[in-house]
Symmetry: C4
Subunit: 370 residues, 4 copies
Amino acid sequence: MEIELGRGKRGRRAYTFDDVAIVPTRRTRNPADVSTSWTIDAFTFETPILGAPMDSVVSPETAIALGRMGVLGVLDLEGLWTRYEDPAPILAEIASLPAESATQRMQALYAEPIKPELITQRIAEIRDAGVVAAGALSPQRTAEHYETVVNAGVDLFVIRGTTVSAEHVSSDGESLNLKQFIYDLDVPVIVGGVGTHKAALHLMRTGAAGVLVGFGGGAASTTRSALGIHTPMATAVADVSAARRDYMDESGGRYVHVIADGGMGTSGDIVKAIAMGADAVMLGVSLARATDAPGGGFHWGQEAHHATLPRGRRVAVDQAATLEEVLFGPATTADGTTNLLGALRKSMATTGYSDIKEFQRVDVVVSPYE
Amino acid sequence: MEIELGRGKRGRRAYTFDDVAIVPTRRTRNPADVSTSWTIDAFTFETPILGAPMDSVVSPETAIALGRMGVLGVLDLEGLWTRYEDPAPILAEIASLPAESATQRMQALYAEPIKPELITQRIAEIRDAGVVAAGALSPQRTAEHYETVVNAGVDLFVIRGTTVSAEHVSSDGESLNLKQFIYDLDVPVIVGGVGTHKAALHLMRTGAAGVLVGFGGGAASTTRSALGIHTPMATAVADVSAARRDYMDESGGRYVHVIADGGMGTSGDIVKAIAMGADAVMLGVSLARATDAPGGGFHWGQEAHHATLPRGRRVAVDQAATLEEVLFGPATTADGTTNLLGALRKSMATTGYSDIKEFQRVDVVVSPYE
Amino acid sequence: MEIELGRGKRGRRAYTFDDVAIVPTRRTRNPADVSTSWTIDAFTFETPILGAPMDSVVSPETAIALGRMGVLGVLDLEGLWTRYEDPAPILAEIASLPAESATQRMQALYAEPIKPELITQRIAEIRDAGVVAAGALSPQRTAEHYETVVNAGVDLFVIRGTTVSAEHVSSDGESLNLKQFIYDLDVPVIVGGVGTHKAALHLMRTGAAGVLVGFGGGAASTTRSALGIHTPMATAVADVSAARRDYMDESGGRYVHVIADGGMGTSGDIVKAIAMGADAVMLGVSLARATDAPGGGFHWGQEAHHATLPRGRRVAVDQAATLEEVLFGPATTADGTTNLLGALRKSMATTGYSDIKEFQRVDVVVSPYE
Amino acid sequence: MEIELGRGKRGRRAYTFDDVAIVPTRRTRNPADVSTSWTIDAFTFETPILGAPMDSVVSPETAIALGRMGVLGVLDLEGLWTRYEDPAPILAEIASLPAESATQRMQALYAEPIKPELITQRIAEIRDAGVVAAGALSPQRTAEHYETVVNAGVDLFVIRGTTVSAEHVSSDGESLNLKQFIYDLDVPVIVGGVGTHKAALHLMRTGAAGVLVGFGGGAASTTRSALGIHTPMATAVADVSAARRDYMDESGGRYVHVIADGGMGTSGDIVKAIAMGADAVMLGVSLARATDAPGGGFHWGQEAHHATLPRGRRVAVDQAATLEEVLFGPATTADGTTNLLGALRKSMATTGYSDIKEFQRVDVVVSPYE
């Protein structure tokens, strides 16, 4: 796969979800005979779907609603819900900003400090509703807030940055020792983004229960233009899945979950993520499109309000269906934005597979969209 | 052709009709000396063209008109003509629906039950006109309705789904044993869609007279966005044509017809389908464009009105010419939408071939549209 | 270069001018030290440019004007100038037709019969002006009119069809024996289009002085959509140039000129055609853009008015400069449409070559336009 | 990397910045621990950035402002500042020209002769401000004006043409002997553009301190359409970087700086240029976008006003931020046009590199923008 780009510089050809497609080649099966369930650590979900820790996607309320539908909603513990007692007017303001000044105003709104007591309160709210409580911190703030998070009784702890490495070098000696950190913690940790076999293998060795594959490649991101960095997702998921197998071998059987994170705007993309080897998918824009999503018709990530180097935008999304219709249908449009689970089920049935793990072996072809 | 997409996942590069083109390399020939005739089982047609079983393409009336022009029109036996005594007002309503609510209203209109007596009546209508009568069922409803269809005196029986496999697995044990079914039947069966060599070989072994190559790849389909599934047609037709040759060898000479189904919007695409190895082509949008097509300026397939997971749209089409002009010209535009047979004939003559079977050997190059 | 497109079907990857670019790698040179002259048979021209036999490009008047500028204008002897005593009002009408009915009206206008006495008269007009007189017939009408053409005193005889083969098969036995025909003729013959090494080699063996490389690939053509046929020009010119070398070897030194015909809309494309091996280029749209071109702001070829299967369109062109400015500048725009010769000269100088023949060896890279 | 384009013609596949992306694979690092400094000859700059010698980018005033920010602004010594005593009204006129007549009027404005005394005066102005003074001449005018430039006390001498070769052939014997010229000169010389390993190696042997990689590939250029010449930048930078290594070996340790020139419209492109091996980047449009850039909302190069063969355009640019914000932020948009240094720093930190030289080894993948 290595290509000579010029004398002395080589690089691999890497593929996006748009570059690949699934091909039916075997028996077919009834959609009703297909299971989409997903188990990580002690938790089993009816769907292999996580809601991304973004203010436009997961609020405490949507985390609860998603949990009841078999989806793991992850709350951003550095977002509006831990900065403001009542984020409702802030969310409303963001949804009403004119495009040209949205970035600048969001930089100001997110300058409000994080309040540890709100972290505690938000996690309790979700736990009390009887669903699995998951919250996310960035690597930069994990050391500062993790005790609050754990004490609040979080079930699954997510550390999510644009890139997370097992080995972070800092001249001030304050970097996080991820391995020690995870070892000391009582709750399972999901960590990422990561995009290569080698980096994933190192993250798996820290004891993480799952790794997020991605690098800010979602619908609201401009990482490629701003930083020149890009993680073509089909190749990245396949690479990290190979790391999962290699790590399972070296660890004597520990299975670390591979969770595709970003770049999945349609049900077809979700299907392809699993086809490339993912155990589950973390969705942003796909859920932000729901009429009952907190973004109110808009979608943005943490990169959108970075104080000096924003690398994302607040983007407008079409609101076509409720969260439940987005996930389970019935669909009344044909564009792959509603009935995500129905589409996954149909795709698995059409190619003759009965569960997510098996479906990772489905055949794919390379055939870029024209 | 296998490419490493990432560690542990490989896939073939597959090609669409847009990726390839025909090159003249040999002698030339007079168009008048070219034959486009096609024979399947006991039936010979002046053209290698089938009208697709879609309500926008084939009604009993157009089936008769097409038959008289040497084209095999296949009636959808699960469409409006077997659900309504008089579909004319329903077709008119569909053609008048606003784009945003078309899917939802069509879901309701197609919820009307299929009436076996209408199946009988529609097939009789076509037969009585003296043309070859062909009708299509989906694999899901074949067991329920095939006796009605056969008793009605159908000449060619088409089983057409987005994917049909020789081996369908179902927990309730009700799946169709395609081999037994075809063996028991008196009429020749055409079955599909299929997209790979292996799946095609299995279908050929069921005793089918022809296989349809495709997977809902037509102009009105959104299968790729919704399911992540895509069958690049140039590669699929070549693969299935190779299966035809391999099956002919293993069966001691039985020739199963390869019929390209979908993705052919211009006469150039029809030419390329045959160049890649097809014996005939099943046309949807190309015929729906006729001023006398039943769609009345619109085109849609069964995927467009699926109750919970629509994977297609009702699309508007330009109505530029009559069915006869679309097929045989004269053309008064230059976009490859009229005089389809004239174009095929000219292309065969220009490259020096005299019949469809020979023309399957014509040279092609890979040169994607810019 | 052969790619497996599917089991049992292979094809070469072929390249267009847009896929390639020239790279400076050697010494540079002064543009003033560069020669662009071209000699075919007994005729030497200051430029390696032919005006295409299309009514929008060459009239008797423009043939004379071009000749005086060192360009070989080829008159279409089956166009308006041999069908009408005074084509001026017809040209004016064509330039005034609305887009939607242009094809149909042009089919009617070109139904007017060709008049042999007008062939004689037009050629005389050009000859009498003291420039090289060249006229073109299609292969279909060569047998009927060539004696008129030769007797009129044509200097260079062009036979130009979408495809011309040395071996044309016809059931009525009336096809042209090209070899005998050229042997019998006193004037040098340029013949084409052709797109492959093998077909070119056969044409060269007929005794032609030059071959045209192309297959209706110009700006006004829809051959690819209509017939599925396409000749990616960069590959075709390289292939036919290799045939020139091979034929020179087998014939003991006869040099047959390779003339790229079609697909060159900018000066950059002309440069690339020569870089791929062409001795000269036949231009259509590039010259039709002149304010004094006969098309009056429009451009079309013979395919545009075919009676039953038009495979081209009348296209509107921007009229930015006189014929002389288009060819020799000065340019006042930067889009590669004016000062074609200045650009060629500059490109040759920048890469250090001093004549057309040498420049055929310049380095190229593959780098598709984004 | 060589591809057969047709029989007898081969070419390398070459890559643009858009074709490649950086992948994080190692440790991460704090952006604060990253150095972006660049040293050439006796001069050290805080950034690896040069302002291109274009009238829309560098005036004496901006050269001084840039110098104070750690950027080397290079003044075009054949531009408006050496043709007019007061270019302010000329710049204002250019910014007010209608698009259709801009080229023609600029041809007239730049016909004004260059005045040696203005060369002296402009360089003195920059020097007197205490920043490094750099000025550029074209190869065609270097012999005529270099003594004026050197006597004026320039610190860095830039010779910049669309292509510069070590060996220039001219029939009038007046060409510049670059090696002798550089040897005789007291100031370090940066020379280019160049696009291949071989040509770069020859330029390095002339004694240049740095070479510019590029061929008029910037935002305002139409070289590809006009001349057919194109230098895909990712491949060119890698090739020339390999020449730097090879020349270092053959010269016993002389390090010639490789400066990417053109085609970098975003911070992501700057990052990629260094990733492919560049020591520094020369920016045009990126700096012309500043509200305090001399172009006043427009950008153009010397090619835009060539008297007979313009190969560039005056293009309008969005003015979003001051020069300081463009370079160092804070950014209030996310499109890679502001905080260029912040983005570079972040990208280096994310991939774990601490200085520019190290960062040249970062991993890249091939993944074209869709």
